[in-house]
Amino acid sequence: MNIEKKRNIFLNKSDISFLKNHYLFLDNDFLSMLFYKNDFLKDFISIFNNSEISLLIDPFVEFEFLREVFLPKQQKLKENFLSEDFFTSVENHQEVFLKLQENAILLSRIYAHQNNNNKKTGSSFVDLFLAARSMLLKNSCIITGNKKDFPLFVFDTLAVLNLEEDEGSLKSFCVLKFNEKKFSSCLLKYNKLHS
């Protein structure tokens, strides 16, 4: 007898109404999971849809998702997936980029200062710009499997989503929100270095 393997998703909150009318930026690892795992997308939407969230794709995340795809069929498949209506792209023009650049450089300095310049704990270019984008856009959050790239001294963890894989292991994704108070406090400490 065949037993159908069912994927399970567990959320650590029974009520996620606090996410209502929020913009949710997808990090590349989460976006890839939606793409690779059968039915995960459907299950995820069924959990979060009542909260009326908007799924946003940052241009750098899109770049990361599409890069190094050399087979035309696979490239087309990924592009078709991204072009579906439930994903929203965000602005990518010069004026916004300059603001993102300023946010990103400030975040990188704060991360370096708070981590005592430990290079191993540094975030990637794409993660810095994703964090910078979330700073810039009101009512936005980030969902990622790499929580350490969006450190606790600047971000709050709002929810944790666990995905049970076929072999029984769990993969966790966190919904994170930029905290202006934490950021300002870190920036103040950083600026004291120069005074």
Binding site: N21, Y23, N28, D29, S32, M33, F35, Y36, N38, D39, L41, K42, I45, N49, E52, I53, S54, L55, V69, L71, K73, Q74, L77, N80, F81, E84, D85, F86, T88, V90, E91, V96, L98, K99, L100, Q101, E102, N103, I105, L106, M135, L136, L137, K138, K171, F178, E180, F183, L187
Partner: protein
């Protein structure tokens, strides 16, 4: 050429998006799920090459 500003200022909550983006089209989700299922062989093949993402 404009280089990085000497004294960068934070830009917090300055950007907004148009309202009306918060309804997820269930038909689009069904379409995407179908797309994934129909092309599972391609996706699995590609995933082997992209394994680093999940490590």
């Amino acid at each position: 050429m404009k280089s990085l500003p000497k004294n960068p200022k934070p830009h917090i909550g300055e950007d907004t998006l148009p309202v009306g983006l918060f309804k997820i089209d269930k038909n689009a989700v069904e379409r995407a799920v179908k797309l994934i299922k129909e092309n599972k062989h391609l996706i699995d093949e590609y995933r082997k090459k992209e394994k680093y993402i999940f490590e």
